[in-house]
């Protein structure tokens, strides 16, 4: 549980500074420091046990099905990093209190900082690899917010965007790597993953996995060739640079290298990728650092170079090198954070970061100068300082390896070259800034910073010294615990002494120091050489390539999404053909072997009529009225097919829907052109014909394959229970109103919604009034033929009676609410057609949208009523009663539900047709004399 609090406290602490917005800046800083202080205290209380090798854990289920658990674990490596994060974090909080000006929003800064601290702690303490990734992404986001803290500056925004893009892309690679890892191992638990070294390294996907994993680590840790985001991130306030870009976040990638060292390292591929990348980064960073005139720019490249050094150590596949790597993590964090803070002090107190103008500051700030000199000496690897120790170990390790065969001597040589540059740029940092003449053109007179602004630097520099002088005593236990965790086993023999006698590493150090000084003295020639090289503006190149990428994406998008619906449809259908066609190709035979029903003359005639009328619809589709007539024949044949194949309910429904549809489409043709102009290019027609044929072939084959296969159905249950459970013998109707009543409720709701949508679409429609039909003939003056009016009026009561009959018999014989509703609607529509809207309105003024609502309410209430009897929603009830004259009758609650269906169908159908029909007549009001 305690382990959880280490991460949880800073998370809660994110809110604290925001609450202190109105208070003084000191109070704000103090309150912010509370949570990390508590967390640090908890962490320190575990020191003994962690050093003894114990692993503290906290575990809880989160999404167990995905293998995602909340899992925090504290081992030696996590302890080391948590210590760095919390301790340096506290120093940064103190430092930032003095660094930020009155205009900067301190609560916002501290909230971002705490968010970042939470994310970092989350990474190092996670015991689940997906959880690691989650916090990994959070560091990218919080780092983005911190870099762009001064968002009014263009370079801050651009730098933040660049950092987010690079580390975000790396984060995606890392996620892919973790998912692969989880699939290979079968678990996302870190402890399980770390134990499966052989399984992972012998897996076919290991190379892919490793490359993705390293992409994630290298982008975060600014390794060559992804290093360029780090110098651009220096637009951030200096506390951020000190914290994120030297001590913690850029080490997250290295942390992962260390964390997964037991599982992934040891292969040739690991060596080649990790150590060569590290070596390249080490050299490039060290070389470029020397030529940076910006104080923070120099430190940024030096950080890149040191990160490369650590990466190189982890790539050497030697346990001792890994120990050296861990040791250098500690040392680099201390001296680099102090250097950044000191650089921030100089910037803050002199208003300038350019080393060409900053000269001779020794006279203004001797204490800061002394501190910075010690830290820079540690960076250069001067004896008696911590940097010297890990650099010696590094030299020793480069000499030990034989990984490049006969060319292995190149690695120590290049390491020495990098060390020479390292000495030179450290010397430049000190000499240029504090000596080398007088300051030029400073806006203010430099002076020592406030007492407490310098305190963090003092603490860190003191650590550099203490570790450098008595390493085993100060960091021995910590290093041992962390190294044990990295190696997942016993650590090799190593000695943290300052003096190892006269040996090759010492010689390398001496060469580096001497040659470094020499190089600095002779720097003029080197600078001239460098200045002659063409400059590379990474920010512009990056932004140009991003712009290029966006442009290409837009082009791709435009090609795919050109606004033509026909094209989308064609693409969609092509996808269908591919997806449904491929499995059919793989199938051996289409026929399933079930005996076919012999074709008789009636069926053959029906099928022929269906095919001919469908074909005629397509052929004459430009003459819309003709096509409409043809398609109604298709509908008629379909309903006859339903009758033929034992589905009387379907036949009745299809028939009545057919009538309504044809009337609707006829009405629609009043508002639409009567002819379709010929416009499609021949090639397009050919494409469409091909596509349509393919889709038809696939659907037909599928249907044939289904029909010729024997099958078992769940319908036996419905047939067995329709009478006993639902009280009806028409199983289809019982399914609709009883077994699957909830579906039906949903469907009539859709019907109602569609009708209301149509009603709304037709209100306030701009008037479009054709004065003649498609042939150019004016509309007939006689609009309501006498014969039709008389017939319609006399049919109405008959039709209503039929629909009542159909409704009531529905439960036991073909019929039911849907069909009865459609018949009623057709009868009333006939009245509309024969007499006109105004005539009907005068006699039957009903708002159909209310009818729909009433129908839906009845159906819903029937369902709810079963709650009153403590039954589930829509439980049906029925019983038989003896009535005089009528004999035995059945009463079922399902009939009330069916009534709801009936009313909804009537309402919806009439709402649709009358709203449309109204428009054809309302603008051509009937003249009095015509009545």
């Amino acid at each position: 549980m305690n382990v959880l609090w280490i991460a949880l406290l800073p998370m809660l602490g994110t809110l604290l500074p925001l609450l202190m917005a109105k208070r003084s800046r000191t109070a704000c800083a103090l309150v912010t420091a509370l949570a990390p202080m508590l967390a640090l205290a908890i962490l320190l209380s575990h020191t003994q046990s962690v050093f003894a090798g114990q692993i503290w854990q906290f575990q809880a289920d989160w999404i167990p099905l995905l293998g995602l658990n909340v899992h925090f674990r504290l081992d030696g490596l996590a302890y080391l990093f948590a210590l760095l994060i919390l301790a340096i974090g506290l120093l940064v909080i103190l430092y930032a209190r003095y660094y930020l000006s009155e205009q900067d929003s301190m609560p916002r800064f501290y909230a971002y900082l705490m968010l970042f601290m939470t994310a970092m702690l989350g990474i190092v303490l996670s015991g689940n690899i997906l959880q690691i990734w989650l916090f990994w992404e959070l560091t990218s986001i919080s780092s983005f917010l911190l870099i762009s803290f001064w968002w009014h500056k263009s370079e801050a925004r651009r730098g933040a965007r660049m950092a987010l893009t690079i580390t975000g892309a790396g984060g995606l690679c890392l996620l892919a790597a973790f998912i692969l890892l989880g699939n290979i191992v079968g678990s996302y638990e870190l402890s399980v993953v770390l134990e499966q070294t052989d399984l992972i390294q012998n897996h076919a996907y290991y190379p892919v996995l490793l490359v993705l994993f390293l992409l994630g680590c290298f982008t975060k840790s600014a390794q060559f060739p992804f290093h360029f985001w780090l110098p651009n991130a220096m637009a951030a306030p200096t506390p951020v640079s000190a914290y994120l870009h030297s001590a913690t976040m850029v080490k997250a990638g290295i942390f992962l290298l260390a964390r997964f060292y037991p599982a992934l390292s040891g292969t040739d591929m690991w060596f080649l990728l990790v150590s060569l990348t590290g070596l390249a980064t080490l050299l490039v960073g060290a070389y470029l650092a020397l030529f940076k005139h910006d104080l923070k720019g120099l430190l940024a490249y030096s950080t890149i170079s040191h990160l490369g050094l650590i990466t190189l150590l982890f790539g050497l596949n030697s346990p001792l090198a890994a120990v050296a790597g861990v040791f250098h993590i500690i040392n680099h964090a201390t001296f680099k954070a102090s250097l950044f803070m000191a650089a921030g002090i100089i910037d803050h107190e002199s208003g300038c970061r350019d080393m060409r103008r900053l000269n001779g500051l020794w006279q203004f700030m001797p204490i800061t100068a002394t501190l910075m000199m010690v830290a820079a000496a540690a960076m250069a690897g001067v004896p008696l300082l911590n940097g010297f120790l890990s650099k010696e170990m590094f030299f020793a390790e480069t000499l030990e390896q034989h990984l490049l065969g006969a060319l292995s001597w190149i690695i120590p040589l290049l390491a020495t070259v990098a060390a020479i540059f390292s000495v030179a740029y450290s010397l430049r940092l000190i000499h240029d800034v504090f000596f080398n003449g007088q300051p030029k053109g400073l806006t203010k007179t430099p002076h020592e910073p406030p007492r407490y602004m310098r305190l963090p630097v003092e603490i860190l520099v003191a650590l550099c010294l203490v570790v450098g002088i008595a390493p085993a005593w100060v960091v021995g236990g910590l290093l041992q615990a962390a190294a044990t965790a990295v190696l997942a086993g016993p650590t090799p023999e190593y000695s943290l002494a300052i003096w190892h006698g006269f040996n090759l590493p010492l010689l390398m150090s001496a060469v580096a120091l001497t040659a470094g000084v020499f190089m600095y003295v002779k720097r003029k020639q080197l600078f001239d050489f460098q200045n002659a090289l063409p400059g590379v503006d990474t920010l512009n190149i990056f932004e140009r390539s991003i712009k290029q990428l966006c442009h290409q994406a837009a082009q791709c998008y435009d090609w795919l999404d050109n606004g033509s619906l026909q094209r989308y449809m064609a693409l969609l259908l092509t996808a269908f053909v591919v997806l449904a066609g491929l499995p059919l190709i793989q199938m051996e035979t289409l026929s399933g072997g079930r005996a076919e029903i012999p074709v008789d003359a009636v069926n053959a005639t029906g099928a022929a009529m269906l095919l001919i009328s469908a074909f005629a619809t397509v052929v004459w589709h430009r003459k819309r009225v003709v096509a409409l007539l043809m398609i109604s024949v298709v509908g008629l044949m379909v309903s006859i097919a339903f009758t033929r194949f034992s589905a009387p309910d379907l036949a009745l429904t299809q028939l009545s829907v057919e009538v309504v549809t044809v009337i609707l489409l006829m009405l629609a043709l009043f508002f639409l052109p009567h002819k379709t102009p010929k416009q499609s290019e021949p090639s397009k027609v050919v494409r469409d014909l091909g596509l349509a044929s393919l889709v038809g072939i696939i659907v037909g084959s599928l249907s044939y394959a289904i029909m010729t296969r024997p099958f078992s159905t769940i319908s036996d249950f419905f047939i067995a229970n329709a009478k006993t459970g639902g009280g009806g013998t028409n199983v289809v109707n019982v399914i609709l109103v009883d077994f699957r009543g909830f579906d039906t409720l949903g469907e009539i709701a859709v019907l109602g919604i569609a009708a209301l949508g149509i009603f709304k679409l037709l209100t306030r429609i701009p008037v479009f009034k054709p004065s003649s039909d498609g042939e150019g003939r004016p509309w007939a003056r006689e609009r309501h033929p006498l014969l039709l009016a008389t017939v319609a009026q006399s049919i109405l009561p008959l039709a209503l009676m039929v629909s009542v009959f159909i409704f009531f018999r529905g439960h036991n014989l073909p019929g039911g609410g849907f069909i009865a509703g459609l018949i009623t609607a057709v009868a009333i529509i006939l009245l509309y057609i024969s007499q006109g809207v105004d005539w009907v309105k005068a006699r039957m003024n009903i708002e159909y949208q209310r009818v729909v609502a009433v129908g839906l309410m009845i159906a819903l209430l029937t369902g709810l009523a079963s709650w009153a009897f403590e039954r589930p929603f829509l439980t049906s009830w029925f019983d038989y009663f003896e009535l005089p004259l009528f004999g035995q009758i059945e009463l079922a609650s399902a009939i009330a539900f069916d009534l709801g269906v009936y009313i909804t169908v009537v309402g919806a159908t009439l709402l649709i047709l009358s709203s449309l029909g109204k428009m054809t007549t309302s603008h051509r009001p009937i003249h009095r004399e015509q009545i």
Binding site: L565, V695, L751, G757, I758
Partner: protein, 118 residues
């Protein structure tokens, strides 16, 4: 009979799809109607064909599958609602936009487009 039935379904689908790929709204509506015939028949046929088995209890020895029938019955009604919605949308679009092309505007002829790009 199954072969013939499948042929009809396939042909109706083809006709429906071809019409749905047209550029004007009315043929598309007709295509959709045609396609829904095909789909309804398809779902119906998944219960296998049965000449004398109307699912009214006590009228037959072997019944057809009532479940696809129930599904298709509601599908017919909903299909009508959707067709209606679509056709009204087409009317509204024509009234608002002045043409009945599915994209809401007449596509540029290819040669005109090329000239404009030059």
């Amino acid at each position: 009979m199954e072969t013939l039935f499948a042929l009809c379904i396939g042909f109706l689908t083809s006709c429906g799809v071809f019409l749905m790929l047209r550029g004007r709204t009315f043929p598309v509506v007709m295509g959709l109607t045609m396609l829904s015939y095909a789909v309804n028949l398809f779902i119906f046929s998944s219960g296998r064909l049965n000449l004398k088995g109307a699912v009214v209890l006590g009228t037959s020895d072997s019944y057809a599958d009532p479940l696809p029938q129930a599904l298709v019955l509601t599908a017919i009604v909903i299909g009508f609602a959707m067709t209606a919605f679509l056709v009204i949308l087409a009317i509204r679009a024509r009234a608002d936009l002045g043409n009945d092309h599915v994209d809401g505007s007449m596509p540029e002829p290819r040669h005109a487009k090329k000239e404009r790009q030059k």
